[in-house]
């Protein structure tokens, strides 16, 4: 009953590949069925987070360059802070409300993904946290309005330094610092390169 070992290996290989091919087919089918829904959910989540900042806005437009690519997409500002993308918010009568900057900053437990509105008069409109993995009960308070409200209407010329003009979350200085610095540095970058955002096509 002993089989030739080479034959045995080929046989086992064929069996395993059959299983993998079937599994792969099943996965690609599920993927193609769920993909539109997944994209819709992601779009909805982004739009909701933008709506939470400019409730009056009815349309959002991604800032793109001549090649139709998003401006400052995954733009690193330093080793901890980056900009994901920038949108413009418009109200129902097409008036420009402000820029929406989506970015991330390295906190205590990982990147803190935030989004904030930048008014044309160079103040912060408001900030909201999209995703974070800070310590529950301590750093996680970063997503609470009790902390975020202090950025509302804050002039971007302020220094955004914890314990000076930013009241930190109790016992979570690293988290508070990460967000304040994230906002300050990304906002300075955006203001410096603001001409590139208004590339009318």
């Amino acid at each position: 009953m002993k089989q030739n070992p080479a034959k045995q290996i080929i046989k086992l290989g064929l069996v395993l590949s059959t299983y993998c091919i079937v599994a792969g087919l099943a996965l690609s089918m599920t993927y193609s069925v769920t993909l539109p829904q997944i994209q819709y959910q992601q779009k909805k989540a982004t739009e909701e987070s933008m709506k939470s900042i400019y409730p009056d806005a009815t349309s959002f437009e991604l800032c793109t360059n001549e090649q139709d690519a998003p401006v400052f997409h995954n733009q690193m500002i330093d080793s901890c802070i980056s900009i994901d993308c920038i949108y413009k918010g418009f109200s129902i009568d097409e008036t420009f409300l402000g820029y929406l900057v989506k970015g991330s900053s390295l906190g205590y437990g990982g990147p803190i993904l935030f989004i904030y509105g930048l008014n044309p008069d160079e103040t912060i409109h408001s900030v909201s946290i999209v995703e974070h993995s800070e310590t529950p009960g301590l750093g996680a308070n970063v997503a609470k309005s009790s902390f975020l409200d202090q950025f509302q209407g804050k002039p971007i010329a302020d220094c955004f330094v914890v314990k000076q003009d930013v009241t930190p979350i109790t016992a979570s200085t690293i988290t508070s610092k990460a967000l304040s610095e994230g906002i300050k540095k990304s906002v300075s970058f955006v203001v410096e390169h603001i001409s590139e955002l208004n590339n009318e096509i």
């Binding site: 046989k11 069996v15 599920t30 769920t34 829904q37 997944i38 959910q41 993995s133 529950p136 009960g137």
Partner: protein, 205 residues
């Protein structure tokens, strides 16, 4: 035969509870039991993968060469986990966000591969479904029991509703990792105490 089926369904609850007695899959239990909602979501995800994998392996058990069984088990489990992840992203994005990395980690949950190796790869489909259901229920009960204690003590809420009043200062430790170890240890202790008492009574009779 009927009592055999019932036994399959109930043995996972107490006698062979995967978490409290077999001490398997503790990583996800400790991490996800921060809130009752997360615990329930994790239980659903776990049940989905366990039952579908057990059914698949049980149907295919005659076409699985012995030397290839572990890779094939992993392929099947990993496929169902990935399918689950697509479905969650598409239809329950908030749950997907809450459970995060612990969805993909179901692949390496030793409870599932253990049940497949010791049960589904040898038994017919119907019994495998019952086994999967029983084990998932046992897992769910364990993780929810831990989550209830942790959420009440650590956050003063249950399912997000405040129950201890605003004067209660939450003991943060319970929603941090040390609290998970404390609660699981105490609950295992209570469970051992009860089962020992019960078995002593059984002997006395």
């Amino acid at each position: 035969m009927k009592s055999n089926f019932k036994n399959l369904l109930t043995k996972g609850l107490i006698k062979e509870n995967p978490v409290f007695v077999l001490m398997l899959g503790l990583c996800s239990v400790l991490a996800v039991s921060v809130s009752v909602v997360n615990a329930l979501g994790m239980t659903l995800a776990f049940t989905f993968v366990t039952i579908l994998s057990e059914i698949t392996i049980s149907i295919l058990r005659k076409w699985i060469p012995k030397s290839l069984r572990i890779p094939i088990f992993i392929v099947v489990i990993a496929s169902f986990v990935t399918i689950l992840q697509f479905l969650l992203q598409a239809y329950l994005p908030s749950l997907n966000k809450a459970l995060g990395i612990f969805i993909p980690l179901i692949v390496v949950n030793c409870i599932i591969i253990g049940r497949i190796e010791s049960f589904a790869s040898k038994k017919p489909v119907f019994e495998s479904i019952l086994d999967g259901l029983g084990i998932s229920l046992g897992y769910g009960i364990a993780i929810v029991c831990i989550a209830i204690v942790r959420e009440i003590l650590g956050n003063g809420t249950i399912l997000g509703f405040p129950i201890l009043g605003s004067s209660y200062e939450p003991a943060l430790m319970f929603i941090l990792p040390p609290g998970a170890f404390l609660v699981i240890g105490i609950e295992i202790g209570i469970m051992n105490h009860i089962t020992k008492k019960a078995s002593r009574k059984g002997v006395a009779r």
